[in-house]
Amino acid sequence: MKTLLWQACVSGLLIGGVYALVALGLTLIFGVMRIINFAHGALMMLGMYATFFLYDLAGVDPYLSILLVGPAFFLVGVALERGVIEPNLGTAESNQLLLTLGVALFLENAALALFKPDYRSLRLPYATQAFLLGDAVVNVQRLIAFACSVALALALWLFLKHTDTGKAIRAAAEEHEGALLVGINVRRLYAVAFGIGSGVVAIAGSLVTPFLYVAPDVGDVFNILAFVIVVLGGMGSFVGALLGGFLVGLAESFGAALLPGSLKQLPIFVLFVLVLLFRPSGLFGRGV
């Protein structure tokens, strides 16, 4: 039993790093634009397909493909923001919700139409080993994903803290009108934020491709998880998304260890509902 719990702990933390990365993208977008991006999971899924095809057709190592996927999806995010979201920025919140839902439907089913529903998987000839950490098995691919996620999160943190654009993003997230008053081009920042969020989640997709299957619907799970994490940690909170990612990773892992079947997701939803009801601002967030 102790072994089981320790394994759950290790696995949960490892995947939690990736979850945190996904959530960071979402929380950045929400923090700046106050939009709940339903298309987040779809973008991750497309990142996974990009990585898969780069490997399958061009032999590009998934971990190297990050250098291509990240910037490419940054541009995709900017294009989406400019083309679809920008024209609707002043309207009702419910409109924006439906907007990103529409984008999500479109992207997911475009993938379905283009790539068919078959599950694909990418098997790396190296990095299939696993080693033991105490009694727990640590899969090297998951470890790499974890390490890269944490590194990217750190990079993002440094970007937000020390670069002008990063500080401008934080300013716009914290005090929208104040940012406008001091001359920050908030509209341009929307595109940047959406781009970064998209790029980050696509990279997260690249990182998990070696050990997850790739299919048009694989983004759905991450979508919901991202929402849960962001709500749990507090919409717009960097630290919240980070900690929330690990918490949810652990919750899912313990759920998988202790509950039968696919019920492992249930504790996450229960947690979600509880947080929404009793502390919708999350652990670190500002008010709803």
Partner: protein, 317 residues
Amino acid sequence: MSRLPWVAVGVAAVVLPPLASPYVVHILVLIVFFAFLGAAWNLLGGYAGQFSFGHAAFFGIGAYTSTLLLTRVGVSPWLGLLAGGLLAAAFGCFAGFLAFRYGLRGPYFALVTLAFAEMLRLVAVNWMAVGGPMGILIPLPKEGDAFWRLQFREKLPYYYVMLGLLAVALWLTRRIERSRLGYTLLAIRENEDAAEASGVNTLATKLWAMGLSSFLTALGGTFYAQYFSFIDPTLTFGVAVSVEILLRPIVGGPGTLLGPVLGSLVLTPLSELTRWLIRGRPGVDVMVYGAILVLVVTFLPRGLVGAWQAARRPRPA
């Protein structure tokens, strides 16, 4: 507007279908089916302004309740309809109470409804007593049992059942529109805080909308089970169901009587047409849905009905 066009449409809807081929009747059944579900969603989403992304929860409750009653206990789906509806309304009021009592609005409300639907789906998948991931198959009826089992050999009787349900839903919507409840719903939609400040019991009003909406949606779930004779957790509780339900009223015109009907008249044949034209490529029809949703939200925020109403309004000189 004179009554005549509506009477004509109503008569046509009743008299013409027997002349159509079974495939066309099937399309008509689907149109009316989704219009009904849309009308149910509309009560909560369009009139009260509370966008639910989890109506599949009620749909599934209706489908599973009546199906379990029929296949395990032998109860007629006509009674199962009521049982499912009441159960769904109870669940809806429970979930609604939690959500509204704790002040969830807008996207947060949408997310929590999504979460509830997903939770029910997970429970259904993992609970073998209700069929688990394999779902439940409704065996075909013996000769003469068709009516009380709500299972017919032809599609036409299904069409009339659904038409009847749609008529009920539209009548109910019309009655609510013109009642105090209707006005308070609109007040809540436009500005909930102002409504509360004006003395409206927003919690009770929203719960009414939730209860009615969930009851009706569950009826649709029962019908689905009877029409297709098979249900499983994804077909009934899945996100796709919630999306299909809300798409028609949004495109047609949220908060209007005919919005869901118009939305269904446009979207349902479009989806069938797309699927037929692009055979062998699953997903294109939903891609079209996504694109339409984006376009409608951007250019026709009040839906087709809203756009038509705006066009009829005299412009200032």
